[in-house]
């Protein structure tokens, strides 16, 4: 069976800068999360998928047809770009309606579809305001509305949750799941692991222009959970607290901060560590002012996975 999206030996160079290197990937219906730190090559991959740029090497096809040079394919693709860019002097309704007119819908059909799409993203009340007066979250929802308004089979979303408030994020996540249940193919990129986790179990890890891993999000999570974590604790008596951790197997290293009021603990079992710390705070009345995880981000996970 022909995959919905197929990329073969895809590579992209911007002059001397590598954007993407030797990516071979097949994407089937459902939600696929494209996860990677900023600058990893996610947007380059999505631009190649949508034919906005041409590959230096390799090829990409959608529904068995090459993307570039076949404009009719775009009636089956919805794309939500990462950039916060619009025709600012249009209203939200004009924006979505105009883009639908470019999809060859009649004026009446474009109007009714725009109404429906704006309703889906809860923008109907503000549809007649100029886009330049929209908040960041509203602009993000408007971008999503134009991507779904023509009812595409394939939806490609580049960092769609950026700038949304928690309610907006939840709503969008629910919508993506609904589209998945309708059998559509959805690709979502993000640099935030929990966001991708909320959307799908199938993820593609991309790093420095290469597909680093592909599979179930829980397998990746397990890798991350065994990754040594740094936890910084700010407290009045760091030496006393450090003494209590020294006997614990899951604590690999303890360092003291230069100010004498903090300690940096390295653990290979974050859950066990936090459970122990919680007990110390509650049962032994250990005073703690602040707990932070300096390496709790995707870049740190990637650095760990690639063995840096």
């Amino acid at each position: 069976m022909t995959p919905v999206i197929a990329a073969r030996n895809l590579a992209k160079w911007y002059g001397n800068v590598l954007g993407l290197s030797d990516v071979t990937l097949e994407i089937e219906p459902g939600v696929t999360g494209l996860l990677g730190p900023n600058g990893a090559g996610k947007s380059t991959f999505l631009k190649l998928l949508t034919g906005q740029i041409k590959p230096s090497i390799g090829e990409v096809s959608i529904l068995g047809r090459p993307v570039r040079g076949d404009a009719s394919l775009y009636s089956r693709i919805g794309f939500c770009p990462e950039q916060d860019a619009f025709y600012e002097e249009m209203t939200g309704r004009e924006f979505v309606t105009s883009l639908l007119v470019l999809h060859r819908f009649s004026a009446a059909e474009a109007k009714s579809r725009a109404e429906r799409a704006l309703g889906i993203v809860d923008l109907l009340e503000d549809a007649d305001r100029l886009i330049k007066a929209y908040s960041r979250g509203m602009r993000q929802r408007l971008k999503f509305a134009q991507a779904i308004a023509h009812d595409p089979e394939i939806i490609i979303l580049d960092e769609p949750l950026n700038g949304l408030d928690p309610l907006g994020k939840r709503k969008l996540i629910r919508l993506v799941r609904e589209f998945r249940d309708e059998g559509r193919t959805i690709i979502v990129s993000s640099h935030v692991l929990p966001e991708i986790e909320a959307l799908t179990r199938t993820i593609v890890l991309i790093h420095q222009g290469k597909i680093f891993a592909r599979g179930d999000v829980h397998e990746i999570r397990d890798l991350i959970d065994t990754h040594p974590h740094l936890v910084s604790i700010r407290c009045p008596e760091p030496r006393s607290l450090a003494a209590r951790f020294l006997a614990d197997d899951h604590v690999l290293k303890v360092d003291f901060g230069p100010d004498g009021r903090s300690l940096l603990v390295e653990t290979n079992n974050r859950d066990l560590f936090f459970s122990r710390l919680g007990r110390l705070i509650v049962a032994d009345a250990v005073e703690v002012e602040e707990i932070t995880s300096p390496d709790d981000n995707l870049q740190a996970v990637f650095d760990y996975l690639v063995g840096k």
């Binding site: 949508t50 906005q52 041409k54 775009y74 002097e89």
Partner: protein
Amino acid sequence: MKPYLDSLRRVCSVFWKLGRQARRTKFFFLFSQLPAGVALIFRLNVLFSGRASATGFYLFTNIIMFFYLQMIILVLALFYGTSVCSEEVEGRTLPYLTTRPLPKSAIVLGKYAAYTAIAAGMTALGLILSFLVLNFGDFSGRAALALARYLGVLVFGLVSYGALFTFLGSALKRSVFFGLLFSFGWENVIQYFPGSTQRLAIAHYLKSFLPAPPSGRFAFLTFRLEPTPPGLSLLILGLVTLACLALAGLVFSKKEYILED
């Protein structure tokens, strides 16, 4: 061919509306009506002083047309023409257009048509107003015919210059700078060269449509003009326009535009 024309019509209708709403259109509207203001000042001066150094028609064919042909249509064509592609790249709105089921060249041509129509509308309004102000109470069939002819010359100018600047905008990053060099450097100098050199300027062919040069101290427009026959001028302007639009469509279809964050 029919789907292509349909795509072109759709792009044109979207940008005809968007172009009219744009803030810069308000500015260029005022700019294109400046000669009407100048005409009004002339007219009031004649009214209050009672002295007329020249007829309204003479002033219209020389001073007002000079403004339009040598400055206003160049500025309008330059800013609208170069913006066809560059505003999408600089505004980072390009993906909204290039991910629609439209031939890429139809995007360029549709926007060009919309923006040329807007610029032509503004120019025509200003020219007609200027004509009415300067010739108030002194209309003649000859003057009306001349107005139509001058209007045609300006529209040809907008179409030809607009096509050239659309091509520059699709191909070059600093298209406005190069457009300014061309408009107020090349065009303003080459058209006054004697012999066949002046035929290397678009302005030469536009001026070749003008009536026989009237004498007088304001005959700037036809200074040193060695006109090309109107039929040949029309052909050359048409070829320049078609070539520039074809190149603009080709460049836009093939070139990768990198949107900067």
